[in-house]
């Protein structure tokens, strides 16, 4: 069946209202995890930047706007989306153009999340169509806004299960003059996390801390002289862990989990307290592992079909099955099961925002 592709918010609202069965919401189709059945409803037709004020660090775009288009517009003014949008195509074997609505739906956030915040922290406002086909506005285009409940945060990371995003607004930031990465070779996971914690706990504004292939990386950004000063001070502060040398930026690869591209097996994304990371990695028995966010985010490549959650037991955090065979995803569920009281709230919200249970049905359940 041909995908529904509304070209306006009004048309989108009508299509949702008139839907007679479940809908599968897609933007560029590059980063969705899990699976759900339904008639495809593509938001790619709602495209374009509606407002961009560099002096106010504000950008408003329709949900189907390609991320690439936004990045080009921002780059012209020396600005960027500060949360480093991951490109999941290589990892998930997808093609197509990622849309900004999909980024928000997944709350997709890269290495800078550890210091600057996630997609949800830069998201100022949303417009969306709920499961009944009603258009809802929340938040706005200003940086400080506590007027009414913050449904903006709720929509970020809801994976289209509470509403179909039609417009999003962001706080954007200037691209710093210089970025510099220091690396230390040969630390084990425990020392790597300790080093990253020390780096993030030092007053030098570390904007990335990751571990991949035995190398521990930390990133500094800002004006050139300031970065040079902080690099020296940081290397000295971390000298007990080993020697720190400037290396080429590994961040795009870390952001996109490049090390797992074209490698067989399931891919899991585990969110934990950084100090728990070494233990989690040891328990997982993974084929390959890497850490971002100072240890707070672990990427694991596991033998196909492994129930990672069972291996991790009482995990203080959550594990998402990002890539796996359909029967594995069906058996284990892409998203981590929630405690009963939280699950009850989640269920209640879904029932209110999508009373007919038609939006990405069962995706996060």
């Amino acid at each position: 069946m041909k995908a529904m592709m509304p070209e306006s918010e009004v048309e989108l609202a009508r299509m949702v209202a008139e839907a007679e069965g479940p809908l599968r919401i897609v933007g560029g189709g590059t980063r969705a995890v899990g699976c759900c059945d339904g008639a495809v409803l593509s938001v790619a037709g709602l495209s374009g930047i509606d407002l961009y004020e560099p002096g106010a660090l504000t950008l408003v775009a329709r949900a189907g706007t390609p991320v690439a288009e936004i990045e080009v517009a921002l780059a012209k003014e020396g600005q960027r989306l500060a949360f480093e949008v991951p490109d999941m195509r290589g990892l998930l074997g997808r093609s197509g153009a990622s849309t900004i609505g999909g980024v928000v739906a997944a709350n997709a956030s890269g290495p800078r999340r550890v210091q600057g915040g996630a997609c949800r922290d830069f998201l100022l406002g949303v417009r969306f169509v709920d499961g009944a086909g009603q258009v809802v506005t929340n938040g706005g285009r200003v940086m400080k806004n506590v007027t009414g409940y913050d449904l903006v945060k709720l929509m970020a990371g809801a994976h289209g299960t509470l509403g179909v995003l039609s417009e999003v607004s962001f706080k954007v930031l200037p691209v710093p003059e210089r970025a510099l990465t220091l690396a230390c070779d040969g630390l084990d996971t425990g020392d790597a996390v300790a080093a990253m914690s020390a780096a993030l706990g030092a007053p030098f504004d570390v904007t990335g801390a990751a571990y991949r292939g035995g190398l521990t990386y930390v990133r500094l950004e800002g004006f050139a002289e300031s970065v040079a000063y902080r690099a020296g001070a940081l290397a000295a502060a971390l000298s007990r862990f080993g020697d720190w040398a400037e290396v080429a930026a590994p961040w795009a690869g870390i952001r996109d989990v490049a090390g797992f591209h074209d490698q067989a097996g399931d891919v899991w994304r585990v969110s934990v307290k950084p100090s728990d990371a070494p233990g989690v990695i040891a328990q997982a028995g993974a084929e390959d592992a890497m850490m971002d966010w100072g240890g707070g985010l672990i990427w694991l490549r596991m033998a196909a079909g492994t129930d990672l959650r069972a291996r991790l037991g009482d995990l203080q955090g959550h594990a998402t099955l990002v890539r796996g065979a359909p029967d594995t995803v069906a058996r284990l569920g892409a998203f981590h099961p929630e405690p009963a009281a939280v699950a009850a709230l989640t269920r209640g919200l879904r029932a209110r925002f999508d009373p007919r249970n038609i939006l990405n049905r069962g995706l996060m359940a």
Binding site: T137, V142, Y149, D150, V272, S275
Partner: protein, 479 residues
């Protein structure tokens, strides 16, 4: 401003209610004497007062749960209260409610430097969170002006900001997890030491829900390493427009100050008369603070000064020492007190797109003439969060109403230019009836649907945030 009439059925239940509360709380934690309940009759929005039916001061999550279960069972509304510093009436009682104060829950439960977090009971004051970690070089970033007194519980309820949130964000950006008790007594843990939600971002909607979704009893907060140092520069301009352009140019240049504060002439004059900080007599004044090592501060201030100089400032004063910094901040920090010396004032906090600053200030000036009430503006310019202070005389009949009408017009103007009613104080009762100017009925229905899920009987802080007629059906069904 109206509040719903107290429910006589609830008022009649007071003796049974007190008896049941005393079964789960010690005697000194249940305040039912009419004279003593007066201590809880208002928050920092002192124009409105009403003693509660009863006030309770539980000491643990379990006690909070027991109290809420009783109130839920008996159909008694509950108004949660942190330290009672809300400027929006967030903790204003109704005569038929139980005030649930978290002031006795102020312990630090855990400090964890490797993971950069602290876990506290929610009655702990904002500044004392920083106090618990500063000896080890850390701090808690959100810094509302009431930080000496205000509680983390209230900060979470209102998603409080502060002068330094331009760089560090507001409460929601620094909150990792909560222990919350729902109205029916259910204790729920949301988030924790990890950085993102596994399912829906419930923490994101709980923060800023004005005590309407649950009572937060414990919070996991992000702490940050203290910067090596900080220093401001003060710049005076002879027009608001030029000052606004200067702010925009600084932001565009890629300098990220921790604070950009703006004061207009009425506010500068009042402040100068009061605090004698040595401010220039000019139309608009900016205080811009940057952080880092000494060399980094010098470098950033040099960049800012170069930008400011392109806008022909009438005064430019760079702090070179802690003493000079204190002097520059003195006036700004005294601004509210200074305005209070002149008269009673009402403090608004609408936010506008930064580009609309000159227009909005001009319109506020015109409205000030029309209403015949003075107004001074002091605000966080970097993020467009305004704080117009409208002067009025509380003893003059009709002046409060006139001031409220003027305030409402300013807030409508904020919405009209693309901003919002409140940037960091919250809606409470103060802006409740203006919600219709910012939101459609559908928008508010979506928000109220969240409350339906967390508090089906609409017993938690029910008469706030949503206009009374908008929430009437739900509140009546609950009663």
């Amino acid at each position: 401003m109206q509040m719903p009439a107290p429910n006589p059925a609830v008022l009649a239940k007071k003796p049974q209610l007190v008896t049941r509360l005393l079964q789960v709380l010690p005697r000194d934690a249940v305040i039912d004497d009419i004279a003593e309940t007066r201590a809880y009759e208002c928050d920092a929005l002192t124009a409105y007062r009403c003693p509660p039916l009863v006030a309770v001061l539980p000491s643990s999550t379990a006690e909070v749960s027991a109290v809420l279960r009783i109130c839920h069972d008996m159909g008694v509304p509950v108004v949660p209260r942190g330290s009672g510093t809300s400027l929006a009436g967030g903790a204003l009682p109704t005569a038929d409610c139980v005030i649930l104060g978290v002031a006795r829950m102020s312990q630090v439960l855990e400090t964890d430097y490797p993971n950069r977090l602290i876990r506290v009971q929610s009655g702990r004051t904002n500044l004392s969170v920083t106090g618990a970690v500063e000896q080890d070089g850390f701090f808690y970033a959100p810094d509302p002006s009431s930080q000496l007194a205000c509680a983390i519980a209230g900060n979470i309820a209102m998603n409080s900001g502060g002068a330094h949130c331009l760089k560090y964000g507001v409460t929601t950006n620094n909150l990792l997890g909560v222990t919350m008790v729902q109205m029916d007594g259910t204790i729920v843990e949301i988030g924790g030491g990890y950085m993102d939600a596994g399912g829906l971002d419930l923490l994101g909607v709980i923060c800023g829900s004005e005590g309407q979704l649950g009572v937060v009893t414990e919070a996991t907060l992000r702490i940050l390493p203290k910067p090596e140092g900080a220093r401001p520069v003060l710049v005076g301009f002879d027009s608001n427009e030029v000052a606004g352009e200067c702010v925009s140019d600084i932001i565009k240049a890629g300098v990220l100050p921790v604070a950009i504060e703006f004061m207009d002439r009425p506010c500068i004059r009042a402040t100068e008369a009061f605090a004698k900080a040595g401010y220039p007599d000019c139309e608009a004044l900016l205080i811009i603070e940057v952080e880092g090592s000494e060399a980094e501060i010098d470098d950033q201030l040099a960049r800012i000064i170069a930008i400011a100089q392109r806008h022909n400032p009438v005064e430019l004063r760079e702090s070179k020492s802690a003493e000079e910094s204190a002097r520059i901040w003195l006036g700004r920090k005294s601004a509210f007190g200074a305005m209070g010396q002149i008269n009673d004032y009402m403090c608004l906090d609408g936010t506008i797109p930064v580009s609309q600053l000159p227009y909005v200030l001009r319109r506020i000036g015109e409205m000030s003439q029309q209403y015949g009430l003075g107004v001074g503006n002091v605000f966080h310019a970097g993020d467009g969060n305004m704080h117009p202070l409208i002067l009025f005389d509380a003893n003059k009949p009709g002046d409060l109403e006139l001031c409220e009408a003027f305030g409402a017009d300013i807030l409508r103007l904020c919405v009209e230019v693309g901003g919002c009613l409140t940037g960091e104080h919250g809606v409470g009762i103060e802006k409740r009836d203006l919600m219709v100017d910012q939101f459609s009925q559908t928008d508010m229905e979506a928000q109220m649907a969240v409350k339906d899920v967390f508090d089906a009987k609409w017993l938690l802080n029910p008469a706030k945030v949503f206009p009374l007629d908008t929430s009437a059906a739900r509140r009546v069904a609950a009663a």
